[in-house]
Amino acid sequence: MAKITFISHDGAEQVVEIPTGWTVMQGAVQNGVDGIEGECGGSCACATCHCYVDETFAGTLPAPSQTEEEMLECTSSERKPNSRLSCQIKVTPELDGMTLHLPETQS
């Protein structure tokens, strides 16, 4: 389990506990986190689970795959250096306490 904090574009905060092995998108969607859509169900096919990872965790995450990199080129909100698709972030105990900022829009 890892506690992940989602901060929406308007500043609203939601803390969700996500089991190890799940993706951050799965945890967010099942808890109805506003601002994470995950329309394709986690296949890295729709880019509607875009998020900005808190800088302190940037080094903890494995680098994006080539497909994720390319999908990130196509997000509807601005891509930043800390942009990730949350369906590609697998939860590990090390991610406990991570904060994710959500973009203004996903589609």
Binding site: P19, G32, G41, G42, C44, M71, E73
Partner: protein, 413 residues
């Protein structure tokens, strides 16, 4: 004496079917500001779940059932959506605005959405009922196939469309001997150009799958009630311990037909997901859409279910929110991602951009000089850009597409 009919409970907005489309209707009703009761009725025992991973990640053992869930149970509580599982709507009384459930309950409705989905088309050959023959539609189906793949040595897949090919890839990943029998002369013939079909036949063969085209299955053979082989019209017998048939789906429109709604191999809806009854909408695989004066069209996709769900919720509240975006689909097979946008039927020209040899390319389809669809293989940016180009109807020429130095993303802005 007939039992007195129970006084119907007040359902407010009732959604028959708790797949992706039905869930979307319920959620969007709340998002649109509806505050009355919402009842979401699903015949499966699980809460709504993502279906596309069934033939891929679930069969590959990469995700558990729990991870496929779309919303957790507390979400339904918070949103005050009553989720009924393991029960189905058995009839609709449109005059009284009441639905009857198969557990005997009755619910009155102010608005009704039908999201009854589809079922697999049964194999029309002798032996289809044998043990070891599967179709894939639900989580339970996927588990049955998974267990069969564990035990099987030889797997025969009937049908070279998305489901069949994804199952074939998953079975190969488990080291099974896999044969794909496709009746048409090429794979995925209904949706992609021959160029893409050939690419996928090569891809599967390179992974050791025996791809047989033009194969007319005439019978399944069995022993002791269990399948042992598949026989084709040319007399060839393919030994099989497990058979997965993916030859298409049938829209579940029986409920709507019985209620007298306009149907044509699916519930007929407009761009706002409205049926022929103003109090009833329909979404997802169970629908056929009439748009642009074109022939009624059924789209089997997540996007269609979701967007029609949004449209239906609005329509039930008397608002117009037409769904007109270009349809998109995807298929993951091995490490190759196929993403499709638009409908390529009727194209008169294709242009390939990228490198088929490197398994990274897109096929652009044109009709009368206009871009109508794009199939992208491991080229996500082409797909995402293509969705914008098609949605905004940006004029793009075959020459621009053929020229890799032309930035398509710039045209889409």
């Amino acid at each position: 004496m007939a039992p007195a009919m129970a006084e119907p409970e007040t359902g407010g907005m009732v959604v028959a079917g708790a797949g992706q489309g039905g869930l979307q209707v319920a959620e969007s009703l709340r998002a649109e500001g509806y505050t009355g009761p919402i009842t979401l009725i699903g015949d499966e025992t699980q809460p709504p779940y993502h279906r596309p991973p069934l033939s891929k990640a679930l069969l590959n053992g990469e995700v558990t059932d729990a991870q496929l869930g779309i919303r957790g149970l507390d979400f339904f509580e918070r949103q005050r959506i009553t989720l009924l599982t393991g029960v189905r709507v058995s009839s609709i009384d449109r005059a009284a605005q009441v639905v009857r459930l198969d557990d005997g309950r009755c619910l009155s409705y102010d608005g009704l959405a039908l999201a009854t989905g589809s079922r697999v088309r049964p194999l029309p050959v002798p032996g289809a009922e044998l043990e070891g023959v599967f179709g894939l539609r639900t989580l339970d189906d996927a588990h049955r196939i998974g267990a069969a793949l564990d035990a099987a040595e030889r797997v025969v897949v009937i049908g070279g469309g998305f489901i069949g090919l994804e199952v074939a890839a998953s079975a190969r990943k488990r080291g099974r001997t896999v044969t794909v029998l496709e009746a048409a002369p090429r794979l995925m013939a209904r949706v992609v150009a021959p160029f893409v079909s050939d690419f996928y036949a090569d891809l599967h063969r390179s992974h050791g799958v025996d791809v047989v085209l033009g194969a007319q299955v005439v019978a399944l053979e069995g022993s002791g009630g269990t399948v042992t082989a598949v026989r084709t019209a040319d007399g060839t017998v393919y030994p099989a311990d497990a058979v997965v048939a993916g030859i298409g789906i049938i829209a579940n429109d029986d409920l709507a037909v019985a209620a007298g709604l306009a149907c044509d191999r699916g519930i007929i809806v407009d761009d706002c997901a409205r049926t022929s009854d103003p109090r009833i909408t329909a979404v997802g695989d169970c629908t056929v859409r009439i748009a642009d004066g074109a022939a009624p069209r059924r789209l089997e996709s997540v996007q269609n279910a979701v967007e029609q769900g949004k449209a239906a919720a609005a329509a039930l509240l008397g608002r117009e929110r037409p769904f007109t975006a270009a349809p998109w689909f995807w298929s993951d097979q091995y490490d190759v991602k196929l993403q499709m946008v638009g409908l390529s039927s009727g194209h008169d020209r294709i242009v390939v951009r990228g490198s088929p040899a490197e398994r990274r390319f897109s096929v652009f389809y044109f009709r009368d000089g206009a871009l109508i669809a794009i199939d992208s293989v491991n080229r996500p940016p082409d797909h995402m850009t293509g969705r914008k180009l098609l949605d905004k109807r940006v004029p793009v020429t075959p020459e621009q597409v053929a020229d890799e130095s032309v930035q398509l993303a710039a045209l889409a802005r």
